[in-house]
């Protein structure tokens, strides 16, 4: 019988997932605020925020290191430039 044991990655579990969850908290509030205030004239902003939410959420669930770094970097850039 072949055992497939998932490799435990301390960097992801101890640092990247908590960091992504931290940003996901902020993103959740941010996205509700943006949709509620209906800044539809800045549609790109709503789309970009929604993509950030989806990216962060899936990165936390999939625990892919590259996806975690990219989604966090993307949302931080979005926060800085929007």
């Amino acid at each position: 019988m072949k055992h497939t044991k998932k490799h435990y990655h301390a960097l992801i579990e101890h640092y990247l997932v908590p960091a992504a969850l931290f940003l996901l908290n902020i993103n959740l509030i941010h996205i509700i605020y943006a949709y509620f205030n209906g800044s539809w004239d800045r549609l790109w902003h709503l789309v970009a925020l929604t993509i950030a939410f989806a990216a962060l959420g899936s990165a936390v669930l999939l625990k892919n290191q590259r996806l975690l770094w990219c989604s966090m970097g993307y949302y931080l850039l979005l926060l800085a430039y929007s």
């Binding site: 579990e13 101890h14 908590p18 969850l21 908290n25 509700i32 205030n37 800044s39 625990k63």
Partner: protein, 452 residues
């Protein structure tokens, strides 16, 4: 072990100790603030339901689409000519009443009393009234903001905010050490309640970390604001005072065309959504219009336009968007803390995430009790951790309910007196217990060192 590894290990122990002791001594306070805060975000909605269904006060649609309240205000001023303050709160939605918040001296009572008069903003007639201080909305706010304790309740809440920030940050720093090979969001399969609670503690703690940290820091600032502002010599922004131009009594009775006030506001500050109108009573012959600008995350009703009663010309304008970073930072704290900038959905998210700190304080306490029993090798302890936690939780709920009942049915002052006695006695007991415990542990340590 290398010197560096040894230092890292010693730091982790320090963080763990901080997390443990700060959490243990402030857990009840954090739990109370979590529960009251989760309810406090809905204060306006709860209050509107009470006004509508308990006081049966509602508005018919205004024929002009603009709230009508001038005649009602005039009749109130005639009825209470020696009123000391008046603020008109405009309805947020159709069907809601306008409210005249008046501090008056009722003929049958000594001293000043703050009353809310409900005005049908379509028919311009008074449809109800209540003592503002004894209302449920006031109870919910005062309990969360100062635990109903008038002397240092607000500062205690601020210290609760600092404690929550400390446990959140130390929790983050020891997270990896406690997770070891456990992956987020896995829960270990076991019947051991200590492990089950520990897993949920870590899972919810790390998942709501940023939210709890923001609530903690803004709460600490809001609670300790009076002290911090005095120590750091920070001046309160937006404190314009119009110059005195007439006698106070003449100012109070001066006729105001409220529709002209609203029209002038629209002209001078078009983006302002007026919510509070306060005519002067000190002789400055002015009207302060406070309100919000759509889409802005700042404290409610902080944008201001002061206009003169004669001619309705602007005297002062405060648009928070045009202010310095310091002003913006100052006025963002309350909005971020109470989450009233994203509708009901955001409030619901705030309430759910806000309750996590309450769960964390309860689960942390349960883990502590199980761990203590295990350490003592005392599996047949007289009281189980669950019983102890249940008793503490019930006592907290009993305190909240009793104070609410006294406040609603007897009076705010009496409720504040009882709450003050309970909180101060508990505080003194806690400090005395901690000191005695510290001295005993030190003495025992010294005695054991002497034996060896």
């Amino acid at each position: 072990m290398s010197k560096r590894a040894g230092k890292a290990e010693s730091n982790k122990k320090l963080f763990w100790r901080l997390h443990h002791w700060v959490g243990l001594y402030t857990g009840i306070l954090i739990g109370v603030l979590s529960l009251t805060g989760a309810i406090a975000v809905f204060i306006p909605e709860i209050d509107e339901l009470i006004v509508k269904h308990y006081y049966h006060a509602a508005s018919v649609p205004s024929p002009s689409g603009i709230p009508q309240f001038g005649k009602s205000i005039d009749s109130l001023i005639k009825r209470y000519p020696d009123y000391s303050s008046l603020t008109i709160n405009l309805p947020d939605q159709d069907g809601q009443t306008a409210k005249a918040d008046m501090t008056i001296r009722p003929p049958d009572q000594d001293g000043l009393v703050r009353y809310d008069f409900f005005i049908d903003a379509g028919m311009d007639r008074i449809v109800g009234q209540r003592n503002q201080q004894n209302s449920l909305a006031n109870y919910l706010r005062q309990m969360h903001v100062r635990l109903y304790e008038g002397y240092w309740g607000r500062q205690l809440v601020g210290l609760g905010g600092i404690a929550l920030a400390v446990v959140a940050i130390t929790g983050l720093l020891i997270y990896g050490n406690f997770m070891k090979k456990q992956a987020w969001p896995n829960l270990r399969k076991t019947l051991d309640m200590r492990i089950i609670m520990a897993d949920w503690h870590k899972l919810l703690g790390i998942s709501a970390m940023a939210f709890n940290l923001v609530i903690a820091l803004t709460g600490a600032w809001l609670g300790l604001q009076p002290w911090l502002m005095r120590w750091l010599e920070i001046e309160t922004p937006n404190t314009f005072k119009a110059p005195i131009v007439m006698e106070a009594d003449a100012d109070k009775t001066q006729y105001i065309d409220w529709q002209a006030v609203l029209a002038a506001t629209k002209t001078e500050f078009p983006e302002l959504i007026p919510r509070h109108l306060a005519p002067s009573t000190n002789g400055s012959a002015s009207i302060t219009v406070r309100g919000n600008i759509a889409g802005q995350i700042y404290e409610r009703n902080i944008n201001t336009l002061v206009i003169s009663k004669s001619g309705y010309t602007p005297i002062f304008k405060y648009d928070v968007r045009e202010q310095s970073f310091g002003h913006k930072f100052y006025f963002i704290q309350e909005a971020v803390h109470f989450g009233d900038f994203g509708g009901l959905l955001l409030k619901a998210v705030y309430a759910i995430l806000g309750l996590t700190s309450g769960f964390l304080s309860i689960s942390g306490f349960v883990i502590f009790l199980f761990r203590r029993n295990k350490k003592k090798g005392n599996s047949t302890a007289p009281t189980s951790p669950w019983k102890t936690t249940f008793v503490y939780s019930m006592l907290v709920l009993l305190f909240l309910i009793v104070i609410a009942l006294i406040s609603l049915f007897i009076g705010y002052t009496q409720a504040a007196l009882v709450a003050g006695i309970v909180i101060n006695v508990l505080l003194i007991t806690l400090i005395a217990y901690s000191l005695v415990r510290y001295v005993i542990v030190r003495c025992r340590g010294k005695r054991q060192a002497g034996i060896h």
